[in-house]
Amino acid sequence: MTLFILRLPITMVLIAVSLGGSVATAADEKGSKEITVAAAADMSVALKEIAANYEKQTGVQVKLSFAASGALTQQIQNGAPFDAFFSADMDYPRRLIAAGDADGATLYRYAVGTLVLWAPSDSPLDPEHQEIKTLLAPSVKKIAIANPQHAPYGRAAEAALKHFGIYEQVQGRLVIGENVSQAAQFVESGNAQVGFIALAHAVPLAMRGEGKFWKVPADAYPALDQGVVVITRSQHKREAAAFVDYIKTKEAADILRRYGFSVPQERKSRQDLCSSTGKHSG
């Protein structure tokens, strides 16, 4: 019995090691390079497609981690092992640069996001025509937004509500998603009746025939300029910079546009990329 008690933890550790070991060997055998990318929640669909294309072309594996931009910034400040960071605004990357956590020369505005007011297809609400007045319908019990404390889309939603002068009126009905994806999921699941979500989420839903939405006019909230940076601590800076360069290609821009992002300027061919880096950081 005593022997068994002694052997048990040793056996368990051996099992754990062998499980971990087998996974590591599988990755090593491929011999492929790998980068880890942190990205704003609104990029969750588009960046997966872009990364898949990139993997096919270069063999570099791109591991993606999605969350609210503020949450990712906080993680990077505390040493999270990311190689590049796609934010949903420009402030968080700038904050990282100021703190020395990101490389200022790599900052690049890769896309501009759009805020939409979204309702499910079977909803009696009609955001396409009722626009902001949708929120005043008596059937609207809960309005989902992303957390303004750390999600740029949450800040945009709050700004839009103030712009239309109905923030005080609807404040009591706001439910706050951890990031813009969770806000979308609150409405999709029917628990909230409408929500401010990213166009980049509304578009793939619309492709499946789900939902109706109204694009909040651009003058109602500060532009969702989205910046990418390479992280200072990264062990794979060259690979990360190469992936950031790929975002600047027409091929990647086409995907971004397809998901409703506007892409700031005409893209260069891949050869001219180095010279354009950092130019559009303002």
Binding site: A68, G70, A71, T73, Q74, Q77, K141, K142, A144, N147, Q149, H150, L174, V175, I176, G177, E178, Q185, F186, S189, G190, N191, A192
Partner: protein, 229 residues
């Protein structure tokens, strides 16, 4: 630096309500587990223990989807109350009851099972009804286990995070608990506020548990290492 007292009171209220309800729900369930001879009892025990193993995300997901307006159960609830379970205090109470169930039932059941069967037999031989035996013999002899179960339930609910994050909707005064408040402060890099709130929570929880275990001191065998003598 900023401490959200509203979140503190809300969390305290949630923990007290959940602990009280789980005492009511947990006693009969634990009694049945301790004394039933049904051959499939182990299946019920496994179900009760599930929340220990399952990540809170699973429970949160079910609360959101299976009890959302797209499900018959969710529609029934909405027709009854006029709103979904998500984003309400009631929803948090229900989620916490499910999530903390094993923390009440398991210590209760262990305590009941530890009561000397001869005393129970003596009580019924002397003509006491099973209910009277339960309240006059079993419960008093199980007091340490009951207190432990209550303390664990209370503590577990105070510290609950995953379920609340998934179904709460972070509404101040309704579903924004202390754990969510701390999370938000950390995510927004407000470390000073996060630190103050976290420290306060730590002190309160320690004080509460210390009081409970202090009261329980004379009958210290909460986890009967050597079994009842």
């Amino acid at each position: 630096m900023f401490i959200d007292w509203q979140a503190f009171w809300l969390t305290l209220r949630l923990a007290v309500i959940v602990a009280a309800l789980l005492l009511v729900i947990g006693l009969p369930v634990a009694y049945w587990i301790a004394f039933s001879r049904w051959r499939w009892k182990f299946l019920v025990e496994a179900v009760v223990a599930l929340p220990i193993v399952l990540p809170p995300t699973v429970l949160g997901f079910y609360l959101l989807v299976a009890l959302g307006p797209h499900s018959p159960l969710g529609r029934w609830w909405i027709s009854l109350t006029g709103h979904t379970l998500a984003f309400t205090f009631t929803g948090l109470v229900l989620g916490s009851i499910l999530y903390s169930l094993p923390f009440a039932v398991q210590p209760f059941a262990a305590a009941f099972a530890g009561v000397d069967r001869k005393l129970i037999a003596a009580s019924s031989t002397l003509g006491a009804s099973p209910l009277k035996t339960f309240f006059r013999v079993i419960v008093p002899l199980s007091k340490p286990g009951l207190i432990t179960g209550l303390a664990l339930t209370f503590a577990h609910t105070m510290g609950e995070f995953g379920v609340v994050l998934m179904v709460g909707g972070n509404i101040p005064g309704v579903t924004r608990t202390v754990s969510i408040e701390i999370y938000d402060q950390v995510q927004a890099s407000n470390y000073a506020s996060a630190n103050a709130t976290a420290l306060l929570l730590l002190v309160i929880c320690f004080a509460m548990l210390a009081i409970v275990y202090g009261l329980n001191r004379r009958s210290w065998l909460m986890v009967p290492l050597h079994g009842p003598k």
